[in-house]
Amino acid sequence: MNRGNISGLIFALFVLISPLINCQTFIEESASVQDYSVKIVTDAITVHTHSGKNLDGYVAEYEEGLKNFRIFLAFEIQKYKKGDWLVVTAKSSDDYIRMSINLRVESNIPVYYALRARNYWAVTSIR
């Protein structure tokens, strides 16, 4: 087999495999990105995460199956206020922060990256 044939074979393999790689990436992305209806419970803060990143954002609460969950939403621009209700498309991560809110015991709060956010009232048009 000459060099031309080998490179042709590699190219063909790449063409065949590339859609599978894309599918895998798509599956991973779709699994970690989700919409949440959240209430912001802190003012804009800067936190130091477990993995060593400094992030700006808010701690937010959302309800799922009669349970309240707290997450840290990282925003690059902080224009929202404490008490705002948002519909957020956020990407989860393996990272977390440790903090206590309202004198509760310090706990791990997972870090999410906000990709899109809209005011809840603007989305539902109830205002």
Partner: protein, 138 residues
Amino acid sequence: MSKSGKMIKALFCLAALSLCFCRCGSESEKSPDNRQRLMTLTSDYTEIVVFSSKVPGYWARQVSDSEEFFLYMQAGSYKKGETMKVGGVFGTTMAAVFRDETLSYEREHVTNIFIVWKAAIYSAAKNQRQPSEKIDRK
């Protein structure tokens, strides 16, 4: 040389000369400063974030084709709705943006950023430009 050969040679010379004339002109004519565009401001002074850096400026729409740009410039006495004549260069990037009108946020928004070197308020009624105001960017 045959007659047709001379004709072809003459045509080539003519084409080369016309290309030369097209490229001639003073340096000031070719500078990006002079490629000015009319923009209508669609926001008050705001900022976006590009690669974790805050970029100040205004949102604007180009008058000719309504294409949206973010004008990278310092705060001036400009207001939403005003038409401006701006000179500079532009490029496209992914930026985190917050829209004050809709209170919406987007982290990876494809944004046309216009880096403004010169800006002046454009008065359509008088159809004249007010004295240009140079902007000293940081």
